[in-house]
């Protein structure tokens, strides 16, 4: 590592959530201290859950030494022998790999010549749009491609559809050698994909039982694609571990993830049903997408742990600074008091670009000259923070000293812990997703899957659509 861990600690600045800065829209010290018992309970619940049930993800920074070596060795060979690497996966199997790739790799990685990339071109197929599958097949040569099929259950319709299509093409072109072009990342113990993989002799990596899709970036789901595109996965795990240690206190003032959960919980109680995440770095753009799944699917629930009815959950909104200043900030500033904005900033960008002279005659442009883009983006972040604060809108800022594997690992773990604490405060099951079953079952019924006759009848008997309401 080229830096001391302490100098790379990410910081959370929540001044603009507090009444001392925000005035009447802000929270008070008393509101925080009134939560002490609830926060202590939430902290304890997470502590007790660690490593059990669906909380296997907290162990990932500690228990993967051998797996990491296997991944690094596999990735080394892929980087050498393949021209394309394609992830077939959706939801948690795609969002983490995309976010890490965008955060660490060159912004136009696939456009770089091979010698600069050092690894294969990288694609993540996380949809079943036929146009997109066709487009992928137009640009990759399957005989030079490694496909990484990722589904824990082995029965995710979208992923298995892609697998069937790709496998058929590979078989046709390469016969038995098709097996050298597929790696399966799946459950070791259950589902179809592990059975298929064992039968076909695919290389496999395992998703631990206690790691759900949206908490899987730090297991082989995320680590293999990351290693293939040259990301330092040991640094990623070291960052996650560092954040685990930063969040080992029930004292909310010493635990940044617990503080974030507390402030978001207070916000939700005060009717802020929207949570905006707005990083000021193109590299962090897809962290907002990854977080959107984590936060929405974990907290969007209609039953408490005691079985009581509820309809909770804050809707995550993805934005990008400075870009969305020209799209969303008008609404954030002047619109309803219904949201909390999380800014993410970076102290030191990995490039510095000067703004040259050449506009002396035009004072409303010339003031930019002599500055750097770095100064401009920092000023715009601070100015936007100032503007929404002045408009009385709740906001806080997470600062990364740099964007690298160690700070990215911290960020991922920070958000996962925040989500676990927030779920405990809401007294819901943070780790399930029963609400997606209805749509899955209706899909099965519509496609004629055996055993879904009852659902087919239900669909047929649903309230009829009327033509007069179609224009």
């Amino acid at each position: 590592m080229r830096y001391s861990k302490k100098s790379m600690k990410i910081r959370m600045d929540y001044n603009n959530m507090m009444s001392s800065v925000l005035g009447k829209e802000g929270f008070t010290e008393k509101q925080l201290s009134d939560m002490t018992d609830d926060l202590s309970d939430a902290f304890d619940a997470v502590e007790k859950g660690k490593g059990k049930g669906m909380m296997g993800w907290v162990d990932l920074p500690y228990n993967q030494d051998e797996i990491v070596e296997d991944i690094l060795e596999t990735a080394k060979n892929i980087r050498k022998d393949y021209e394309y690497f394609v992830v077939l996966g959706i939801g948690g199997s795609a969002l983490g790999p995309i976010a890490a790739f965008q955060a660490i790799c060159h912004m136009h990685y696939n456009d770089l010549p091979r010698r600069k990339r050092k690894g294969p071109k990288f694609y993540v197929e996380d949809n079943v749009d036929p146009e997109r599958m066709q487009a992928l097949l137009d640009v990759v040569e399957v005989e030079k491609t490694m496909f990484n099929v990722v589904t824990k259950s082995g029965s995710t319709s979208e992923t298995m559809t892609q697998y069937l299509i790709i496998n058929s093409i590979l078989r046709e072109k390469l016969g038995d050698k098709a097996k050298d072009h597929i790696i399966a990342t799946t459950s070791k113990n259950a589902g179809n994909l592990i059975k298929i993989a064992n039968k076909e002799n695919y290389k496999t990596f395992y998703i631990p039982d206690g790691v759900g899709g949206r908490f899987s970036e730090l297991c082989p789901v995320g680590l293999l694609p990351a290693a293939v595109v040259g990301i330092d996965i040991k640094g990623l795990l070291a960052g996650a571990k560092f954040m685990m240690e930063e969040c080992n206190s029930a004292n909310v003032k010493k635990n940044p993830a617990l503080m974030a959960a507390a402030l978001q919980h207070l916000s939700m109680q005060n009717g802020k049903n929207i949570g905006v995440m707005m990083p000021y770095a193109d590299g962090l753009k897809f962290i907002a997408d990854w977080y959107a799944q984590l936060w929405a699917e974990s907290l969007g629930k209609n039953k408490t742990l005691d079985g009581k009815d509820c309809n909770v959950g804050q809707t995550p909104v993805k934005a990008l600074g400075v870009t969305d200043q020209h799209s969303q900030v008008q609404l954030y500033a002047e619109g309803p008091f219904d949201k909390v904005i999380t800014f993410i900033g970076v102290d030191e960008y990995r490039a510095s670009v000067e703004i040259p002279n050449g506009c002396e005659e035009y004072p409303n442009v010339n003031f930019l000259c002599g500055h750097t883009m770095n100064e401009l983006i920092q000023a715009e972040r601070q100015a936007t923070e100032y503007a929404v604060t002045k408009a009385g809108k709740l906001n806080y800022t997470i600062m990364l000293p740099q964007l690298n594997e160690f700070t990215l690992g911290q960020l991922l773990m920070y958000f996962m812990l925040q989500t676990a604490y927030a779920g405990a405060l809401l007294n819901i099951d943070t780790f399930n997703q029963p609400g997606v079953e209805e749509g899955k079952n209706a899909t099965y019924a519509l496609l004629g899957r055996p055993g879904y006759d009852e659902k087919r009848t239900e669909l047929a008997n649903a309230p009829q659509k009327q033509n007069k309401y179609i224009i």
Copy 2:
């Protein structure tokens, strides 16, 4: 055109907004008929405003014959002579070009070989992240690049910053020939960029006075980039014109854009402060981004036209089907009753991909075999619609017969008219964006622009941040 216009009409199905399907969460015929006078007023206000003030965008399908020819000629030369085409623009100058590119062009356009692309590689630079500018310069050869600088005011800091950097590099490499690598799209009458362009002898296209950034996709802002990447811009304008004609009635049941505005208005009045847009087509992914600016910046206002205080505006949320079924639908189904979901579907995709056999032993995968991806994505769209409807969540669906220039043009005009009607119903100024000034001014102050001493003093005197709130 390869199709009849009528067969390409987009449809709006709002059954799932109505109590006849949705039950108590739905709206009634009476609620709609009670709005008749308000809707009539909104329709009249838009009719009267057409072509005046900031409503020049309604004329764009009718008054650009000569401009279109100039654009096509220019684009033809660029397609022949340049290897890269880079838009330098932000907000409305970027979102439309990105959306149209994604909708019509090959999904991996830049990865195609030159002979298949037929035009230059395409990039849109809509941020001032120094890492991104550096990355762009790593992958384009400026001496083979046409840069399209787009800013109506000629003083957008981000765009002018990019211009200064690029111009300096071009000057250094190419001397006076730099001018052959820059096209300026800007106001004919005001601002710096037109002055610079005239002095430097750049090719120029004009943004009409009455066309604001978020309503500019159908003027040269959008049309030039579209033509360069091979989009049929006449088809786009024909679609927009067709939709203008579809929306020429004050009768809400005969005017789809007015119906959308009415239903969204009712929803906002009923506390639905979130509007999700979820297209089921990768090609439409960035339509949701374009719409997010249009809707947020137009309706997010703190003053009515009578000068009364308000804080209105619905927060747009971008989603993608089926992908976000695995990320957001848990929340949409089980979470709060705080949103309206707009699905967009496509009847006939531009590719068809079969799902081959190969999983006979695994019934929970095998049911997919023999279907097509097309059937799968349609079933998933219908199933998700069914699931959120069953959960009592307001939703409606826009169906495109195909995704092509003509239907895209319809869609753009539909959303712009919907926004104009919705603004009239809210009695706000739909076309301004005063809320972004505060942030701009604070940026100027922070960067030392002359004339901003007062703002600098204000910033210095703002409530101080406390270290205890930084962890």
